[in-house]
């Protein structure tokens, strides 16, 4: 081939480098944006959405989701934190920060002329090795050990705005998960069985776990119906108590004044007969599913129901039906003729209580309660409440991680330092480029202690080097004690976290980095 060809090839690869660099830059920018929110002394972000809504959060996944990014590689980081949310529920910031640090190292390696696929392969080996190291320092945990679980939840909550309430929220999260967990089939744990109702008013201190069920909806009392019912028989109905409506279009033809009266009367009779049937089944609390086709319940019907001393909660969403029927031990009833006593659920007390500004309906003392749990969250304003909700979700996920993989590791960035050290050690046994890349991987992991101490206002270089020294001396659990601003043994400080969070953060971040590395072109398409 003539030399001209060679020239052309060179230009080509220059362009490819540009694409790769710009991808890495964009991804790094995203990582930098969430960096400062890592750790117990991490800062929160205020995200203002286009419609004027403001969110204040410390949760990496939420920040990234609300940040509308357009650059393709930046989008991948958003996706990355989302999947960490799915897998582990916590560590959504760490995963992005680790990914950013790895990318930074990649850039250095690329500048030295290492081929991207070599970096990619070496990183994948390094991440597998990292998981091995993590498993070797993990401590098995017993599900009966409530204290250990609470400690793990505490660590997760410590970085959130609600951290001073962790003594309240952590036991709540642990109890909720243990309640919905089926000991026979722990793999079937579904966090959707935990209902979280948040209400503005009061402080987070007033939050509680309800032994029973709470509905956000008020009891319908426009017609003066009861708002408190002891020894309740609860029916969950999916039919409507309103004038009949057919699927086929219908006209009622009224030819004179008398007939009009008759139509009114008939409507009353119809509703009355429905109410009577409900009453006949012994039901005294009625939960009515929302209906889009027609009024679920009319004012007239409410009036009759009030007369019959039946308490009514309306606007139940269809998605909630399954949870409700599971909790109350009742079956949904789709037709008034099927109102049978055996389909009803029973509870000691159903009561509308005032909570802050609003009201909620509480059901307590449920017989044959299913494996569900309800948490009533309170907060002084909407933003705090939303953040508390997110934090509680994170804590719940932490506990779920422990159910799935029953190992704990120390927190406070001690596992990262340990892994980094072990990998650096391991890299010496490897040859050539691979060793070089694994070494870079090990260095990149030090971003976690570095950022953690930086966010805590400590001297990062001092801390990181001190940590390295201690770990090299065999102190496997030495980590940053942010509160005291020193390095201590994390296990003694009770700072622990599930193994799954750190392993999945490392593997997911590596997978994402490898994908970004392999891209050499952005092609616009239809």
């Amino acid at each position: 081939m003539p030399p001209k060809q060679k020239n052309e090839l060179y230009k080509e690869s220059a362009r490819k480098k540009d694409v790769r660099t710009s991808n890495i830059e964009a991804a790094k920018a995203v990582a930098d944006a969430v960096r400062t929110s890592l750790g117990p002394r991490g800062m929160d972000k205020m995200v203002a959405s286009p419609n004027g809504e403001v969110i204040i959060t410390n949760d990496g996944a939420t920040i990234l989701q609300k940040m509308t990014v357009t650059q393709p590689a930046a989008k991948m980081l958003v996706e990355l934190s989302k999947s960490q949310d799915v897998v582990a529920g916590d560590g959504t910031t760490s995963v992005v920060v680790i990914c950013g640090a790895l990318l930074k190292k990649c850039q250095e390696l690329l500048e030295k002329g290492v081929h991207p696929t070599i970096i990619s392969d070496a990183f994948s080996k390094a991440s597998a090795k990292a998981c091995e190291v993590l498993e070797s320092i993990a401590i098995p945990v017993n599900m009966e050990d409530r204290e250990a679980l609470i400690r793990a939840a505490n660590t997760s909550l410590s970085s959130k705005v609600v951290s001073q309430y962790s003594s309240l929220l952590s036991p709540m999260a642990v109890d909720a998960v243990l309640k919905v967990m089926d000991p026979a089939r722990p793999a079937m744990l579904d966090l959707r069985d935990i209902k979280v109702v948040s209400k503005v008013g009061g402080t987070i201190d007033d939050s509680e776990m309800v032994d029973g069920m709470v509905f956000d909806q008020k009891a319908a009392k426009s017609a003066g119906g009861p708002t408190r019912m002891e020894d309740a028989k609860i029916a969950l109905i999916q039919f409507q108590i309103s004038p009949p409506k057919t699927d086929i279009e219908n006209n009622v033809i009224v030819s004179d004044y008398n007939q009009m009266d008759r139509v009114y009367k008939e409507e009353r009779n119809y509703i009355l007969s429905v109410v009577k049937k409900i009453k006949a089944s012994g039901c005294n609390v009625l939960l009515i599913q929302k209906s889009i086709l027609r009024d679920a319940v009319t004012d007239l019907a409410l009036h009759y129901l009030a007369k019959a001393k039946i308490m009514v909660v309306r606007d139940i969403e269809r998605d909630e039906i399954e949870l409700i029927s599971k909790t109350l031990g009742c079956l949904p009833i789709a037709h008034v003729d099927n109102m049978k006593p055996e389909k009803l659920g029973s509870a000691k007390l159903v009561e509308e209580v005032e909570v802050g500004k609003g009201r909620v309906v509480k059901i307590t003392g449920i017989e044959n309660k299913g494996r569900t749990a309800t948490v009533l969250l309170r907060g002084s304003n909407k933003m705090v409440l939303e953040e508390a909700d997110r934090s509680l979700h994170d804590a719940l996920c932490v506990i779920r991680c422990l159910v799935n993989k029953r190992f704990l590791i120390a927190g406070g960035s001690s596992p990262e330092v340990q892994v980094s050290m072990q990998l650096a050690h391991w890299s010496k046994t490897l040859q050539g480029m691979e060793s070089f890349c694994v070494r870079a991987f090990a260095e990149a992991l030090e971003v976690v202690p570095y950022t953690l101490s930086e966010n805590a206002g400590l001297n990062p270089i001092n801390i990181v080097t001190e940590l390295r020294r201690l770990h090299a001396a065999g102190e496997k659990y030495a980590g940053i004690n942010v509160k005291k601003g020193t390095i201590t043994n994390m296990l003694e400080e009770n700072v622990v976290q599930p193994l799954l969070i750190t392993t999945s953060a490392i593997t997911l971040a590596t997978e994402c980095v490898r994908m970004i590395l392999k891209i050499d072109d952005i092609v616009p398409t239809r």
Partner: protein, 557 residues
């Protein structure tokens, strides 16, 4: 090179711009044809050399676009949608890239087309075929510049192609008679296919997955029975093959969550309301009571329907459409599991897998073929609950559950796995296998060159060009891996020249020539053959062109 094709990064059509003097010539020709006034206003015509030039440039540009994705160290591309949503796809699959780019050059469209055909026919080699065709055209262009007539080139290419094909056939080997060896072949093929994709690190795992899935089919060529479900979360390594069928749906409230020895009715029928579907149909009544009666009658109709369905003696009912509250409750009362909203694709596959038929009327329970399976239960994958059917009637069926860090990774993993499955399917049908890593190309090139040395006339030049084009495939693999392609290809050539039975090919990992049999780099014969034939055909079609007429664009607005 006569034409330096620089791609402009911000060029929407993404096709090459021409060197300055070419543009001059083109415009001149354009003016001429417009002056003649034969064509409609706005239409353009390119003739003779210009036309050929335009097609060469277009085709070569497209080939260069996908060139960097070839081989185990090939790179990926981001496809950024310019439409709404700005969706992003990340892929290594030539067919997917070419399918989605804007192309405004007729010759380039031909290449996009052959890549599509390759995808439909054999499922893999979509990049190779385009790169090969591009190289043939690049060589042809040089020959045309040396005043060789295109027809002569075509004749030479044809003979070379025939020769190469017979070589390919002679070097292929077949292990179908020995199941253990055949399985090993399949594994190797799957690994080779996957090695250029995102799954490369876990290729061992996925190759096993794909081979297991294909062997379950027992030669029945329908990939329909292999269902792929993508769930974000976890890592690729956690993907698994399930021997049953998994449906991403929910079981109705209050119904059994676990059924053994299920008898299943698969249906497509409205379970909300059975209403008269005549527009404007309405009833007139004169009292509310009658409205209530009609409502009751409607409900009764629905009950009747549900009763008929239950009378089939089933304990599981799967419907494509919604199931409303009333029928749901009735099914719950009867202890029947009812699954609503199984989508269309899902329902057809379900019917196939469970061995039932899709029913929409329920008058004749005795003639309906029910589906069956050993066990239905709910399982948890990631955060979602899914329904798992095990012991299904169609023993071939299986489900592959893919896990991965993000939806991009999952989409790409699905495409890669699909490629592997397609190739394996082809190999099961035609068990001939060749080595990979550029081995067949080097062998073919050698034979073609020998043929050229025996052939008199200008045709021989075309044959030599053909051989050179064949060798660019291994060269590109080396280039993409950042290796010295000239050195390695020369080494390969020497190795094959010294030993006619040599098994040397490109060993990308170590960056040298290596024994393909030892490395286990195998490829399907069908894929290689298809690359050879369609690549040659496509270049032939483009070479024949000497006139491009573009019709005047339709006036809008």
């Amino acid at each position: 090179m006569a034409v330096s094709c620089r791609r402009l990064a911000n060029n929407r059509t993404y096709l090459a711009s021409l060197a300055a003097h070419d543009i001059c010539r083109l415009t001149r020709a354009l003016q001429m044809s417009q002056q003649s006034g034969i064509l409609q206003q706005g239409a353009t015509e390119e003739r003779g050399e210009n036309a050929r030039m335009a097609s060469f440039v277009g085709a070569v540009a497209v080939a260069d676009l996908v060139k960097s994705t070839l081989g185990p160290k090939g790179m990926d591309k981001i496809l950024q949608s310019m439409g709404r949503g700005q969706e992003v796809t990340i892929t290594n699959d030539g067919a997917t890239i070419l399918k989605s780019i804007y192309v405004d050059n007729p010759a380039a469209k031909v290449l996009v087309d052959i890549s599509k055909v390759q995808d439909d026919e054999v499922g893999d080699g979509t990049t190779s075929v385009v790169v090969f065709a591009g190289e043939l055209l690049r060589e042809a262009e040089l020959l045309v510049n040396q005043k060789v007539h295109p027809m002569t080139i075509i004749a030479g290419y044809r003979e070379a192609c025939d020769c190469a094909r017979s070589v390919l056939e002679s070097i292929a080997f077949n292990h179908q008679s020995d199941p253990a060896l055949f399985r090993k072949d399949l594994l190797n093929i799957a690994k080779t296919t996957l090695s250029s994709k995102i799954l490369t690190v876990d290729k061992e795992h996925f190759a096993n997955l794909a081979v297991d899935a294909i062997l379950r089919l027992k030669g029945n060529g329908s990939l329909e029975a292999i269902h792929v479900i993508k769930k974000t979360g976890g890592t690729l390594q956690e993907s698994f093959l399930d021997e049953g069928f998994i449906l991403d749906k929910k079981i109705g409230v209050g119904q059994p969550k676990r059924i053994e020895d299920a008898r299943i009715l698969v249906a497509n029928t409205p379970m909300d309301t059975d209403k008269i579907k005549i527009y404007g149909a309405r009833v007139r009544v004169d009292s509310m009571a009658k409205v209530a009666d009609i409502e009751a009658a409607e409900k009764e109709k629905m009950r009747e329907k549900v009763r008929k369905i239950i009378d089939h003696g089933i304990n599981c009912f799967i419907n494509r459409q919604l199931i409303y509250n009333l029928p749901e409750e009735m099914f719950a009362d009867a202890g029947v599991m009812a699954i609503e909203h199984a989508d269309f694709d899902g329902i057809e596959r379900l019917a196939l897998v469970l061995g039932g038929e899709i029913v929409s009327t329920f008058e004749n329970p005795e003639t309906v073929k029910l589906g069956s399976c050993k066990l239905i239960e709910e399982i948890m994958i990631g955060e979602d609950r899914l329904i798992h059917f095990s012991g299904v009637a169609l023993g071939e069926a299986c489900t592959i559950v893919l896990r991965g860090a993000s939806s991009h990774i999952l989409d790409e993993a699905e495409r890669s796995l699909h490629d592997a499955l397609c190739v394996l399917k082809e190999t099961v049908a035609d068990a001939r296998v060749v080595y990979g890593g550029g081995w067949p190309e080097i062998r073919m090139a050698k034979a073609v060159e020998e043929l050229a040395s025996r052939t008199p006339g200008k045709k021989a030049m075309a044959m030599e060009a053909f051989a050179r084009a064949l060798r660019t495939l291994p060269a590109t693999i080396c280039d993409n891996a950042g290796l010295d392609s000239a050195e390695i290809v020369a080494n390969l050539k020497a190795a094959h020249g010294a030993d006619a039975e040599s098994r040397m090919g490109v060993d990308v990992v170590r960056g040298e020539a290596g024994d393909m049999a030892e490395l286990g780099i195998y490829e399907s014969f069908r894929v290689r053959q298809q690359v050879l034939l369609s690549g040659t055909e496509a270049s032939e079609i483009i070479l024949r062109v000497d006139d491009i007429i573009k019709c005047a664009p339709r006036k809008r607005g």
